[in-house]
Amino acid sequence: MNGEDSVLSRFTRIAVPAAAGVVFLGIWEASVRLGDVPLFVLPPPSAIGASLVANFGSLMGSLWVTLRVTLMAFVLAAVGGIGLAILFSQSRRIEMALFPYAVVLQVTPVVAIAPLILIWVGYDRVELAVLILAWMVAFFPILSNTTLGLRSADHNLRDLFRLYGASRWQVLSELQLPSALPYILAGMKISGGLALIGAVVAEFVAGSGTGAGLAWRIVEAGYRLDIPRMFAALFLLSVLGITIFFSLTWVEHRLLRRWHESAVRREF
């Protein structure tokens, strides 16, 4: 592949989906206007844009609330998931004792647990309840992926470490954690999206505390039949989700590009 081709392909890779988006928005705008569709059924993109501008302050405040909860839930899920997986890798017995309960936590729908958490935490601390619920959703993929990754270290390398008299800690830090890194990052990519979903769902169910998140803006706009604002909040949620996904993809690429098959660029 020569240089000109790769520049062209990079341009096309952005231009083609962008053009498709513009065409889609154009058709949307035109059909809503020509068909006289009421604003509260399907607002045209222009009205959504206008609403985004008009409500910029409150929507940005809500974006920040949602982003903060999502990030906190994600970081806590990463710390807890990796930490617990490391504990599991050190003791088969602890893993046997605790893993089933981690699964229970995962398979029970978060919507069903929300009222309980809310009662326990207290209605005066809704934000904490939302954080706990988002954490519960985001936690499991990191735990299960890291557990798998720590176990997937090459057996011959493990023997080699034994042969050289490596300590438990050395096996963990020099062999198991690096082997698990691609798995951990894959788990984090799933969890990043789930933390956002968890934050939104939890806010739907638990309501909002002092600061309203984007989910609450959507509920509120729905009550008032302010559909353009609902779409504007939805748009911001998508942007947030995409940003989280691509940031984590970027981190993954940076960390793995020199050695892991998934991230290595092939020349042919």
Partner: protein
């Protein structure tokens, strides 16, 4: 040098070594053997004859179900320094060539900067001094194997255990690595135990070939290879070489016979 040299002191004695895996598979039954200091011994046999199992028992990676592994060292234990080379290069893909070779020293708490001269020396000995910064996936199969060899050599181990190290390589690369290994062995005087399923390779490399049979895994016999060193292409074409190969082949076939 020939095998007519003064007899070397024994390093390792195996008596009645047997291994039965969980589930009842008998991998080895009653293996007796003696390895002397500075020996180059090959274990040859068909798949499933337990030669890799035997090597792992010698390394202390698995325990024998019966029998005795006795090291003739001052404390009777396996020397702390044992190099082990697997059939796959078994490199850490996330680490550079230099970091991979550093591993045995790092595990002993020797920092990279302090170990660097030693590491570069080990890499130079396998002809990879220019590839210290490369990553394993950027290397060919033969080069990866050389890195693996350099890693085994870096602690200057008195004993080198090799488990079909070159079996996955093409014929040319394999012969080149065989020659390099022999050169290293002659200059360093380690004891080498070399597992292979290639009769030719075992004859070319070793001073003694232990022929093994399968079901159950056991030692069928021993063929001494008295050819002088250095060995080279001329030895590969000699009648002597052909005779030794025939002898190993006969010993193997006798074991296969029911």
């Amino acid at each position: 040098m020939t095998s007519a040299d003064a007899p070397r002191p024994p390093l390792l004695t195996l008596t009645g070594v047997a291994k039965t895996y969980e589930g009842g598979t008998v991998a080895l039954s009653g293996v007796d053997a003696e390895i002397r200091r500075g020996d180059f011994v090959s274990l040859v046999g068909p798949s499933g004859c337990g030669k890799s199992t035997l090597l792992r028992i010698v390394a202390g990676l698995i325990a024998p179900s019966a029998g005795n592994v006795r090291w003739h060292t001052t404390d009777g234990a396996r020397p702390a320094d044992v190099g082990f080379v697997f059939q796959d290069a078994t490199l850490m893909p996330w680490a550079s060539v230099l970091d991979n070779v550093h591993l045995p020293l790092k595990l002993r708490g020797i920092a990279l900067e302090k170990a660097r001269p030693q590491l570069m020396d080990a890499l130079a000995r396998v002809g990879l001094a220019d590839f210290a910064g490369a990553f394993p996936r950027e290397l060919s199969g033969g080069m990866k194997m050389r890195v693996s060899l350099a890693r085994a050599l870096v602690t200057e181990p008195p004993v080198l255990l090799m488990d079909e190290p070159f079996a996955a390589l093409d014929e040319f690369t394999r012969e080149k690595l065989d020659d390099d290994l022999l050169d290293l062995w002659r200059s360093q005087r380690w004891t080498v135990i070399f597992v292979t399923h290639s009769i030719y390779e075992s004859v070319y490399l070793s001073e003694r070939v232990l022929v093994m049979g399968a079901r159950p895994g056991r030692v069928l016999g021993e063929v001494a290879i008295g050819a002088p060193h250095p060995r080279g292409a001329a030895f590969r074409r000699s009648h002597d070489y052909a005779d030794h190969c025939a002898a190993v082949s006969v010993a193997l076939r006798e074991g296969v016979r029911p």
